[in-house]
């Protein structure tokens, strides 16, 4: 039941004291005439309402969450504790800087740690999410080319296996997209890339956007050659940090030849997703791009931390300094794990993925016939669909009946019946074994009783929903009488 249907005229909570000054009323020409329908609720009913909503949701603590490319690792509770310290939550962003030294130190320490992990020189924390980070990174590249007088560099190369945000961000940055097909291993087709960059189009190339490991969970072994080719034609290379969780302490984007990166603190650095945000998508870059960074960067001056505007800053991506409390959570996590713990996180993320892949390949086909994957792998259910009529979607919905959040479905687009599995390092072997067993059981069920899977899920608050109807006749708000 919607909260509006629970509302009763005259109910409410006792929140505000009486007004202690003379009441001022705005002139009638400025006054609201339209009635305002908001819930009228007793506090107990508000709290129960949201408790009921939570019962119809699935969080990381409700069970295994192997959602590929999303890195649904455990969100440590200590993060929440530090981010709710009143000295972080109760400060105004425009206070004098000498009263904000703690906040600036959080930014400075986090920047230092992210530089060490990625091999970059400077970071901005303004971007609020991964896609916002991509947009920021592309604007950095744009500003760089324009400063060099390269106004014709407006094309960005994006592999067909990339996240949809990559091409969408490129368009927002005023760039046109050259989609390149992957090779049979799912990696960048180096020869095709060379043709583009060494041909006529080379001087129009702004850069390349790449995830490494890529969305098939593979580390591109030709990475140095790839970044060299792009640099060779005058382009810049952008690292989409969606998959950084595979390689921390093993390899750094900076050493692979990337010029700038965005990271998802809400994936790799354990801050919660909040049902779709707030995240944080800080962008790092090498020295030659640093002077174009948006917003303000921290510097030390006479023993104090100050904010400095980069000399050729591209502008502001967002008000103030980004989703600061998310950065506090990420710093808490980094401090707790330290150098060894962070490397161990990646190592175990990759181990868990390989363990699951090895066990599941008896039944499921692994896309690109991968032998060793990184932190995630992709199962291709095309054969299962052909033999049983059971699709990736059906298997995913079947998992819901077992309390397991399904893997990412139908992505990357280069694999037809894709299920992309990312177990993360914070799952025990017991949890993995249980999930493997469930997936094997569903595979067998596809042959013995495919109908049961077409109708799944059976145990959730609602069954499959009519998405076509929802889009055709949109009901996007509650209609009051």
């Amino acid at each position: 039941m919607l909260i509006f249907e629970k509302s009763r005229e005259g109910r409410g909570c006792s929140i505000l004291p009486p007004c202690d000054v003379e009441v001022y009323e705005a002139a009638p020409e400025f006054s609201r005439q339209k009635p305002l329908h908001l819930p009228q609720m007793a506090e107990v009913d508000i709290e129960r309402h949201y408790t009921q909503l939570a019962a119809k949701a699935h969080g990381v603590n409700d069970g295994f969450y192997p959602l590929g490319s999303c890195t649904m690792k455990y969100n440590p509770r200590v993060n929440e504790q530090t981010a709710s310290m009143s000295k972080f939550t109760h400060v105004h962003p425009l206070q004098p800087l000498d009263t904000l030294q703690g906040s600036l130190q959080v930014l400075q320490e986090t920047e230092k740690a992210l530089n060490a992990i990625t091999g970059m020189s400077r970071f901005t924390f303004q971007p609020a999410a991964g896609a916002h980070g991509e947009f920021t990174g592309l604007l950095l590249i744009k500003a760089y080319h324009l400063a060099n007088g390269d106004t014709q560099r407006t094309k960005i190369i994006v592999p067909d296996s990339a996240h949809g945000t990559n091409p969408a961000s490129a368009v927002m940055a005023g760039m046109s997209v050259i989609n390149t097909a992957s090779d049979e291993r799912g990696c960048v087709d180096v020869e095709k890339l060379r043709q583009i960059c060494e041909g006529e189009e080379g001087k129009e190339i702004a850069g390349l956007m790449l995830t490494n490991p890529n969305t098939a969970g593979l580390f591109d072994p030709n990475i140095l050659e790839i970044t060299e080719i792009i640099h060779g034609c005058g382009g810049q290379v952008y690292y989409d940090g969606a998959n950084l969780n595979a390689i921390m302490g093993v390899a750094r984007p900076g050493d692979m030849g990337f010029d700038c990166v965005h990271l998802n603190l809400h994936k790799t650095f354990s801050t919660p997703h909040g049902g779709g945000g707030p995240g944080a998508g800080p962008v790092g870059c090498k020295e030659h791009l640093a002077k174009f960074l948006p917003g303000l960067v921290t510097e030390e001056k006479d023993g104090k931390l100050v904010f400095v505007k980069p000399e050729q800053s591209l502008g502001e991506m967002k008000n103030f300094y980004g989703n600061f409390l998310v950065v506090v959570k990420a710093l808490t996590y980094i401090k707790m794990l330290g150098a060894e713990g962070i490397a161990a996180a990646s190592e175990n993320a990759v181990l868990n993925a390989n363990y699951m892949m090895a066990k599941l390949r008896d039944k499921y086909d692994i896309a690109f016939d991968t032998k060793i994957c990184m932190h995630e792998f992709v199962m291709d259910l095309s054969r299962l669909l052909k033999e049983t009529g059971v699709s990736a979607m059906d298997i995913a919905k079947g998992l819901l009946d077992h309390g397991i959040h399904p893997p990412t479905m139908y992505f990357p687009l280069t694999v037809h019946e894709a299920l992309m599995v990312e177990p993360t390092e914070t799952e025990s072997r017991e949890t993995l074994d249980e999930a493997i067993q469930v997936l094997e059981g569903l595979y067998d069920l596809a042959f013995s009783d495919p109908e049961a899977l077409h109708d799944a899920p059976h145990t959730t608050p609602v069954s499959r929903l009519d998405e076509v109807g929802a889009a055709r006749h949109p009901v996007l708000r509650y209609a009051f009488e």
Binding site: R32, E43, A54, M72, V91, K142, P221, V350, T426
Partner: protein, 441 residues
């Protein structure tokens, strides 16, 4: 070192053996030797939870929390009811992913549907999305949304929050839209100047109500001018003010945006906040971001799904209306709880108290000898003085009071003040007394 890895060393070895690998190094066989990090990460050693808490508390202690705050300018200190933090710390709602798997995400989806309804009610608009990053990006996305093939220019008032104008400018740098700033005149948008700037290349006109200086714009007239030139009309509004002030819909706006921070989110050094964004029905298929719709399941039960996804990046890639993916869902949840807790009367009361206290304070400051800039305002206003702003603000800071925002640097004298329901008469009188002292010497 701290760790959140449950598998023991022995288990890790066992797992490696079972999948036919000799060592964990073999997991990274695809990583070329030239890019392998040789000496580990250059980071401090890890810590226990107790040590981390201590370390973070030490850092936090270097911030100063003012007991009394009279500064707004885009971030506002309002009362946050206990219900809000209670719901926001619910671990399921806090740790859930974007609700792609609708069958197990009805709670999240329904909360967004309720949020959308409340934003429509507040603004009077027809359709709301599930939120964008903040008020600045909401304004910038709104400008992009109004672009048409032959209309590539945005006119934005000089009286919008400077940070918001900067974000719009950056987004226009990205998508190559033209941006012209409508000048200010006497603290409000210069309507006469606007008239001269309108032509058939203008996609939209954007103003802020109340504007950056707290002043109420003649939003009716500006909207009519925009529409007469067939441009879209975007209003950036303060959500608390809508408890008493005319809605964007009543002014004829096509798109209403703003920052939702005043509705239950702490100031938190600037974020996370959320941007709300609502439009007329005619524009709903161009809106950026997630939108939740009501539908039915196979058994006819009511349910909710992400809808109109043909606008979005994961379907349309380079043809999407925006790249936005993650938004500020948990903040939108907070807004829902906040508005449910205050209710229609509570929100109205909060708005009345904001504007009443600001007017009381403006009156007292005028009596004390400051010049209050003239014109109708909501809960922010500008003063001038014969002394530099810094002298007044330093004197206040010594008493633990964060005064208004100096508008012209240290040497200028203009100050932008803000009052909310949090400022008691006693706090205001204290500020006035301090200022009297400063002016007396």
């Amino acid at each position: 070192m701290g760790t959140f890895v449950p598998n023991t060393k022995a288990q890790q070895q066992e797992m490696l053996r079972e999948i036919g690998l000799g060592s964990s190094d073999e997991l990274f066989a695809d990583v070329p030797d030239q890019v392998r990090l040789k000496n580990g990460l250059d980071l401090p050693e890890g810590m226990s939870e107790m040590e981390v808490l201590r370390s973070m508390a030490e850092i936090a202690a270097k911030n100063r929390v003012f007991r009394s705050v009279f500064r707004g300018a885009g971030a506002y200190r309002h009362y946050v009811p206990a219900t809000v933090n209670a719901v926001m710390s619910n671990e399921t709602l806090q740790t859930a992913y974007t609700p792609y798997q609708a069958e197990i995400s009805q709670g999240v989806l329904q909360s967004i549907f309720e949020y959308q309804t409340m934003i429509c009610e507040l603004t009077g608009m027809d359709v709301s999305n599930a939120s964008v990053y903040d008020g600045g990006t909401a304004a910038a996305e709104a400008v992009a949304l109004c672009r048409e093939r032959k209309r590539n220019k945005a006119l934005v008032s000089a009286c919008v929050q400077p940070g918001v104008l900067d974000v719009i400018r950056t987004y226009c740098f990205g998508n190559n839209m033209e941006l012209e700033v409508i000048p200010a005149r006497d603290g409000v948008t210069d309507a006469q100047a606007l008239q001269g700037m309108l032509d058939d290349t203008v996609a939209c006109v954007l103003i802020q109500q109340p504007n950056y200086y707290g002043r109420l714009e003649d939003a009716q007239a500006i909207g009519e001018m925009a529409h007469a030139a067939k441009a879209k009309y975007i209003m950036s509004v303060n959500p608390i003010s809508l408890g008493v002030l005319k809605t964007p819909a009543e002014y004829g706006a096509d798109v209403a945006v703003g920052d939702g921070q005043p509705l239950g989110l702490p100031m938190a050094f600037g974020g996370p906040y959320l941007g709300f964004m609502a439009s007329t029905d005619a524009m709903k298929r161009k809106l950026p971001g997630r939108i939740v719709g009501q539908t039915t399941d196979t058994k006819g039960r009511t349910g909710y799904v992400l809808t109109l996804q043909a606008r979005e990046q994961h379907i349309r890639r380079e043809k999407a209306s925006s790249n936005i993916c993650s938004n500020q869902a948990l903040c939108a949840l907070a807004v829902g709880v906040y508005l449910s807790t205050l209710g229609p009367e509570g929100l109205r009361e909060a708005a009345v108290q904001c504007t009443s206290k600001a007017h009381y304070m403006a009156g007292e400051l005028a009596k004390a000898g400051l010049t209050v800039e003239e014109g109708e305002f909501f809960h922010e206003f500008v003063t001038k003085a014969d002394v530099p702003a810094a002298r007044i603000l330093d004197a206040l800071q010594e008493k633990g009071i964060l005064g208004g925002l100096p508008l012209d640097g240290d040497e200028g004298s203009r100050i932008l003040w803000c009052c909310t329901e949090m400022n008691t008469k006693k706090d205001i009188d204290e500020v006035v007394a301090v200022i009297k002292e400063v002016l007396a010497c």
